[in-house]
């Protein structure tokens, strides 16, 4: 076995968008990449929740690191806060990706499925905005 593949976390304001993006990753890329998704606030409305983002990072954890795909404003700031709350040894291995959430998740997972490094997975997804 080679070193673990980078994990993917999808954070959207909408639980349906997060779930749908995760479905696309699973169907198009397969299950060789750790994957978790979260969306919506604790009351069931649109939004993002710090605790749930932390859970998602935990669920998709990989020793190779985790990239987080976010949609808008609060998803990004809450994800950054979640990363700051991680243990010191993990904090440096989780990065928010500047890429569209759906396409970015599929592209990041494709790159990750080949065993690429955290840095390369992030850079490849960010090519979408280049």
């Amino acid at each position: 076995m080679r070193v673990a593949n980078v994990g993917i976390v999808i954070v959207s304001h909408s639980p349906k968008v997060a779930e749908g993006a995760a479905d696309m990753v699973r169907q198009m890329v397969g299950d060789s990449v750790p994957l978790a998704h979260t969306g919506g606030d604790p009351d069931g409305g649109l939004g993002t929740d710090l605790a749930r983002i932390l859970e998602a990072i935990e669920a998709a954890w990989s020793e190779a690191g985790v990239v987080v795909l976010v949609d808008l404003g609060g998803a990004e700031t809450n994800s950054e806060m979640a990363i700051e709350m991680l243990d010191e040894d993990r904090r440096g291995r989780v990065v928010v990706c500047n890429a569209p959430v759906v396409e970015g998740a599929v592209i990041a997972a494709t790159e990750a499925s080949g065993g690429s490094s955290l840095e390369l997975v992030k850079r490849t997804a960010e090519e979408l905005y280049a």
Binding site: Q27, M28, V29, G30, V106, I107, T110, E111, S113, G114, G115, S116, T124, A125, E127, L128
Partner: protein, 130 residues
């Protein structure tokens, strides 16, 4: 085919192999070919036969397959390029070649022959979609 060689083996040929009667290298040693490394480059072509062509899902499969080989693998929709890195999911996704178009592949590296054969077989198998 007269012999029992692999069914698609005849499509793979060394690129830049000297033609009969071609002039010998200039004694000055300046005859460096194009931009590819001087190690053996193999090339081959396959026509897209699946209905959707090189759409999102086939693009992911092609990228994943290319990444499973150590060799440099590239393809183009014209025999003279421009060449796309087959391991780059974003670049492959942007090609959007349609059914009936021909993909020209070239590979160089330690497992170039296996990589090329596998990529051609994937296209021939319609990306296992139909």
């Amino acid at each position: 085919m007269p012999d029992g060689s692999a069914p698609d083996g005849s499509r793979i040929r060394p690129e830049g192999a000297p033609l009969a009667g071609a002039p010998a290298l200039a004694s000055g040693g300046q005859s460096i070919e194009d931009s590819m490394p001087t190690e053996d480059t193999l090339s081959g072509a396959a026509t897209l036969a699946n209905q959707a062509g090189l759409h999102a899902r086939p693009a992911v499969k092609l990228t994943q397959l290319a990444k499973s080989f150590a060799s440099r693998t590239e393809f183009a929709v014209a025999p003279d390029g421009p060449w796309i890195d087959a391991k780059s999911p974003v670049k492959v996704m942007r090609v959007k070649a349609a059914k009936g178009e021909t993909l020209h592949f070239r590979a160089s590296g330690p497992d170039a022959e296996a990589a090329l054969a596998a990529l051609l077989a994937l296209v021939d198998a319609k990306f296992d979609e139909e």
